[in-house]
Amino acid sequence: MGLITKKHLHRRTFLRGLGVSVALPLLDGMVPAFAAARTTAAARRFGAVYVPNGVEMRMWTPKTEGSGFGMSPILEPLAPFRDQTFVLSGLADKVAVPAPGEGIGDHARAASTWLTGVRVKKTEGPDIRAGVSLDQLAAQHLGKETQLASLELALDSVEVLGACDAGYSCAYANTISWRTPTTPLPMENNPRAVFERMFGASSSTDAATRQARLAEDRSILDFVTEEVKSLNRTLGGGDQGKLHEYLEAVRDVERRIQTAERQSTRELPVVEQPMGIPDTFHEHARLMYDLMALAYQTDLTRVGTFMIGKEVSGRSYPEIGVPDGHHACSHHQNDPAKLAKLAKINTYHMEHFAYFLEKLRNTPDGDGSLLDHSIFVYGSGISDGNIHFHLDLPMVVVGGGAGTLKGGQHLRYKNDTPLTNLYVALLDKLGLPMDQFGDSTGKLDYLTGI
């Protein structure tokens, strides 16, 4: 079932889980930047995985702290990765806590602030405003060399109707990734669409075909650029906003094509596209993790985000004995039966994350594995879903960060330490030192290197 199950990567590996066969290039020889990166000791890949509705904290938080901590029931699936795992307690998403007059809408705030760290504008209209998210900052840096700056994945459709959350535009609840403060990135839940985004329309591996295709794309983009320019000449200044967005998109795609052209001689996977959205959570989640891993393995991107569920997700999990909706369980009112069900869901999610980590650990990369050179953040913008609590969040960081992280610790920070202090620390390890991010008040300490 696994994407790559052997310690040593065969050049031709069969992806049974995907129904896909991929000829994997040798990662070492693949990207010249890798060789350089190895000496600079910065993490080369970043990912963030979001779980909605908070978690059952009593089953999440390890009882002991420090390096001798014992895994909690929900975190147990991470046991194989213990020495590359940080469990971080006490961090707070303070900008999700309602400001005076801001009122309800905690779910939308939790998702939209989790990676942005800024107070988002409460509006249902088009005037949405959050901040550039952590993954997108990373993508500005790590995405320069790859065809895709970043990949945004989800399991829920964004098509569910009705209100998303009180007074907040659906955009806030539908994504955790913000390219700019006003551009939320849509998260894709169809594996096939993700696949096409990664590998393009032509399933041919032939370099000449690919190059011809890229040239065609380029000429279409030239055409679009000219069209936008001619429209701009006739439109009033105030009317050009959306065209500006379109032109920005054109530029972005152009950059991607340039990268692709530079790398067009590279051997790319031979692939049969995934069929569509699998029927069960289990298959769907695994397939999306497979694709995310594949994107890292083929170096199509170095940054990814994945929403296991939208906030307020009412998905039920009959396969693990939870026929109730997730959101209903999260408003548990301290009922032991509901808490137990919530913990089951949380653990189930964690098992899937561990499946993904296992794939990365089994993929050799330079002097170690992909996991050794990556940083993954997993957590939620809510701790206790019952009261929409945004403090003492469930957060873990996994990965070696190319030698910048040495895990195996449960760290408890002073209450109300901004979550963004963690991000400042991580940005540092990603080679992007910044003094401030969102509502940060400093850089999280003890998240030390070797």
Binding site: E216, G241, M275
Partner: protein
């Protein structure tokens, strides 16, 4: 939790104290003095102080009427019933305080937005809050009419027609339809493009539809695929298209009209074949969720356009079935174009026996079915190809594109220009100039140099499909527009508004021609065109897109009733629910009924599966037909399984969700959302004695935080309690083992018992229902959120439509003829179009990005 209740208590307390302390003399005189907090409403006696005759309400011109001396009747009324909470010293509500003591009620022009809000709150019955004094009906009506009259006159004098986004991206449904109408190519938009964000309840809101690099990539990919398919590009590589059935689709009967008589199960798909070529059709029979093996020997048929192309016998005993290996397949030549592919089992003999006389199978949602599949069923079909493809001789798409055929090299350029001009006119929805066509011809030329004439045209079409002129509806301010003054839309822009409203697609040739001749603005011509568009089959997009979102029908796709409790819920029922409501809406519109008939219609459309669910006898087969209800309990939309299912939880009905849905979508009085830390209802089977949802909600409403809204929502939901979570009629609560109590009270106090009386009570609020529907239609039609300045327009449409019995045509014509639909406000800056012409696009962009 405790804190929250205290806070609310404080607010309530504050109100009472303020009432007592209000210095207004009228207040003090009439008020016996509520010095203690009592649960009883403060009763006002002296109604006579407020003139009841509307004549006495004539507005007084000029502000300051409230300065000294006797307050005007309106002011006196506001002082008495509203100012107690809504005043400067104690601004309420907290987030956006309304301070009615400060506003000049005798001149609504100063704060029309606030007064519109007052109208809404008071009309809905949510203000003054339940339990507090309210004016008597006559006074109330007179006051509202006076207030609305003032607002309407203000709007008539200085109309604000609003400003939909000047650049409005086509959404996924519109793109799909536009491609169909432009190139005769049917695409699966849901697979090709990402979901659009919604605003104001709809996914066609111009300001909300954004563009990202990811989306552009998808557009480029789509353009490549579509253009190649339209042309019939012989270099197309084989690809796989997969069609799946739901695991919950019961396949023991003939499933649709498209499948042959005597067949069982399987599926019918309309597949676009891009080339005259060979294709492999592969069938996956693994049936149940965990892919267990099927049993037995089955005869299958593959047909294309009803012609039998292959008969197969599937022996489940053979290794590999259901494991993805060695799937049954056929390889056959198919001509290019869209063809109906059907794959079915040859029916069993007992099909001649009526369904209800046959022994029943375990339902597919049940555990028993998962373990013991009764029969083989088709779980998916893959169409793989084309192999050895040739340019098709003739397809509808090629007919549309190749309006000329160059006989020699020297004709090519002229022919290409002609082709691209024709396509661009329809794609850009207006007459085109050289400046529009030449860039496309340039792309054609580049393609021609690399290949042949057809390759060049394919490239031209590909470019056309990513042109911003196609992807965006652009409503450009005329140079003559001056800031703040509404201007009339061009006929072309009006044609687009019309076709996107009623078809979710581009205008057809006739509409474009009428617009080009400048005749569309003529009211008679406009009405003719509206009628023509509504009668066209493309108007089904209106039903699925407007109806699907207004009534939340789209959520039906993801509804997952709990298998243990609703084991007879299968996909056949889900599909039937959807079809029923769509056919019902379509019929209501086509026969131009009163929109109130949506609530009261005594008929619906059912097939055998749905009839069984509704206990309607003597309906056999998969064909949907019109049936009259034997009694009134299921009449109208509120008795339809679709609506009842999307407003339920997987495990039970929710009077709250149903009540909220009714308030939001039918009456237009959206209650505010709940605060955090609200205890969820205790579910049955969790160590408590099973009780009805009603009893549990009553408990819930004892909490004052909850009560203010739930006292409005829940009673409406109770009315529908006789319908279970999948819309089946019930008289008893199976868990609590008690009779269903479906009595309740509307927010205005009207009592009802059961769905029939509830419907009558709703009809008593028919004005609210029609106004709300009009608002939804207007939001959808304009593709923008409505604002206070739109309310007078809504009121006018509703007033006018009343004379036509609120027929669909009267509402739709009302919207189409309204100023907001025919006009728009220019950009606030009023930037002259030519002023930016000389600025290079890059630097102007940079300037704007600051």
């Amino acid at each position: 939790m405790k804190k929250m209740s205290l806070a609310v208590m404080a607010v309530v307390l504050g109100w009472v104290v303020l009432v007592a302390a209000d210095p207004n003399p009228a207040m003090l005189k009439k008020n016996p003095g509520p010095t203690a907090i009592t649960a009883q409403p403060v009763v006002m006696h002296a109604q006579a102080a407020v003139p009841a005759s509307p004549a006495a309400w004539s507005p007084q011109t000029g502000g300051g009427a409230q300065a000294a001396g006797t307050p005007t009747p309106a002011r006196a009324l506001v002082n008495r019933y509203c100012v107690g909470c809504h005043n400067e010293r104690r601004p309420t509500p907290a987030g956006a305080p309304v301070m009615l003591d400060r506003l000049n009620i005798d001149d609504v022009s100063q704060d029309p937005a606030v007064w519109e809000k007052v109208v809404r709150k008071v009309r809905s019955g949510s203000m003054p809050p339940a339990g507090l004094p309210r004016p008597d009906a006559q006074t109330f009506q007179a006051w509202m009419e006076n207030l609305e009259g003032g607002l309407d006159r203000l709007a008539a004098a200085k109309p604000n027609v609003g400003r939909p986004a000047p650049i409005h991206r086509l959404n996924r449904a519109e793109y799909t339809n536009a491609v169909r109408d432009l190139l005769a190519v049917q695409i699966d938009g849901r697979a090709m493009l990402p979901t659009d964000d919604s605003g104001y309840g709809f996914d066609n809101i111009g300001d909300v539809l954004s563009v990202s690099p990811g989306l552009l990539e998808r557009y480029m990919l789509a353009a490549t695929k579509i253009s190649r398919q339209a042309i019939g590009d012989p270099t197309l590589k084989p690809g796989t298209t997969t069609y799946k059935t739901s695991p919950l689709l019961l396949q023991n009967d003939r499933l649709s009209e498209d499948l042959p008589f005597g067949s069982r199960g399987g599926m019918a798909i309309q597949h676009p074949f891009p080339l005259d070529a060979e294709y492999v059709i592969k069938v996956d029979l693994s049936r149940n969720l965990d892919g267990a093996q099927i049993r037995g020997v089955h005869d299958m048929e593959v047909r294309i356009d009803q012609v039998l192309v292959k008969q197969m016998t599937i022996d489940a005993g053979k290794a590999g079935m259901g494991s993805g290996k060695g799937l049954p397949e056929v390889r056959i030549p198919v001509t290019a174009g869209s063809h109906l592919v059907t794959i079915t089992f040859v029916g069993a003999a007992d099909q001649l026996v009526p369904r209800d006389a046959r022994p029943s199978d375990p339902p597919p949602n049940s555990f028993a079915y998962q373990l013991n599949p009764i029969d083989a069923a088709v779980s998916s079909i893959q169409v793989i190809g084309p192999y050895d493809g040739k340019v098709p001789k003739e397809t509808e798409s090629r007919k549309r594109i190749f309006v000329c055929k160059p006989s020699s090299m020297k004709d090519e350029q002229a022919c290409a220009t002609r082709i691209m001009s024709g396509l661009a006119r329809r794609a850009y929805r207006r007459s085109v100039t050289d400046a529009d066509v030449q860039p496309l011809v340039k792309v054609y030329q580049a393609g021609r140099e690399k290949g042949d004439f057809e390759k060049g045209i394919q490239r031209g079409v590909e470019a056309l499909l990513v042109s911003p002129k196609f992807l965006f509806r652009i409503e450009q301010d005329p140079t003559s527009a001056s800031a703040g003054a509404a201007y009339r839309l061009s006929d072309f822009a009006l044609a687009s508004r019309l076709s996107f409203f009623l078809w979710s697609s581009i205008p057809d040739d006739e509409l474009l021609n009428v617009a080009e001749q400048g005749r569309l603005k003529n009211p008679t011509v406009l009405e003719q065109q509206v009628k023509r568009l509504l009668a066209d089959s493309r108007a089904s997009a209106f039903v699925s897109n407007f109806g699907g979102q207004w009534l939340y029908l789209r959520n039906l796709r993801t509804a997952a009733p709990n298998a243990d409790l609703f084991f007879d819920f299968d996909d056949n029922l889900r599909v039937a629910f959807q079809r029923e409501t769509e056919m019902f809406l379509q019929d209501q519109m086509q026969t131009d009924r009163s929109v109130l008939d949506l609530l009261t219609a005594d008929y619906t459309f059912v097939n055998e599966r749905l009839a069984r669910h509704y206990d309607i006898p003597n309906v056999y087969g998969s064909h949907f037909r019109r049936v009259a209800y034997p009694d009134k309990r299921r009449a109208g939309l509120l008795g339809q399984g679709s609506v009842l299912t999307v407003t339920s939880y997987p495990n039970r009905t929710s009077p709250v969700v149903r009540g909220k849905w009714l308030l939001d979508n039918l009456l237009g009085f959206a209650p505010p959302p709940p605060p955090p830390n609200v205890p969820a209802l205790r579910e049955n089977g969790e160590g408590v004695v099973a009780t009805t949802v009603r009893a549990r909600l009553e408990q819930h409403r004892k909490n004052p935080v909850c009560s203010s809204c739930h006292s409005q929502m829940d009673p409406l939901g109770f009315a529908l309690e006789n319908f279970d979570a999948i819309g089946k009629w019930r008289t008893d609560d199976a868990e609590a083992k008690t009779a269903i109590d479906s009595s309740g009270t509307l927010p205005d106090g009207t009592k009802f018992n059961g769905p029939v009386e509830f419907r009558t009570a709703l009809l008593g609020r028919s004005g609210d229902f029609v106004a709300n529907l009009t608002e939804k239609l207007m939001t959808y039609g304009l593709g923008r959120g409505l604002d206070y300045y739109d309310r007078p327009v809504i009121r006018k449409i509703v007033r006018d439509a009343k004379m036509s019995d609120y027929r669909w045509s009267s509402l739709i014509m009302g919207i189409v003829s309204s100023k907001p639909f025919q006009m728009r406000m220019p950009s606030a800056s009023g930037a002259a179009a030519s002023s930016v012409a000389a600025v290079p696009v890059d630097s102007s962009m940079k300037g704007r990005a600051q």
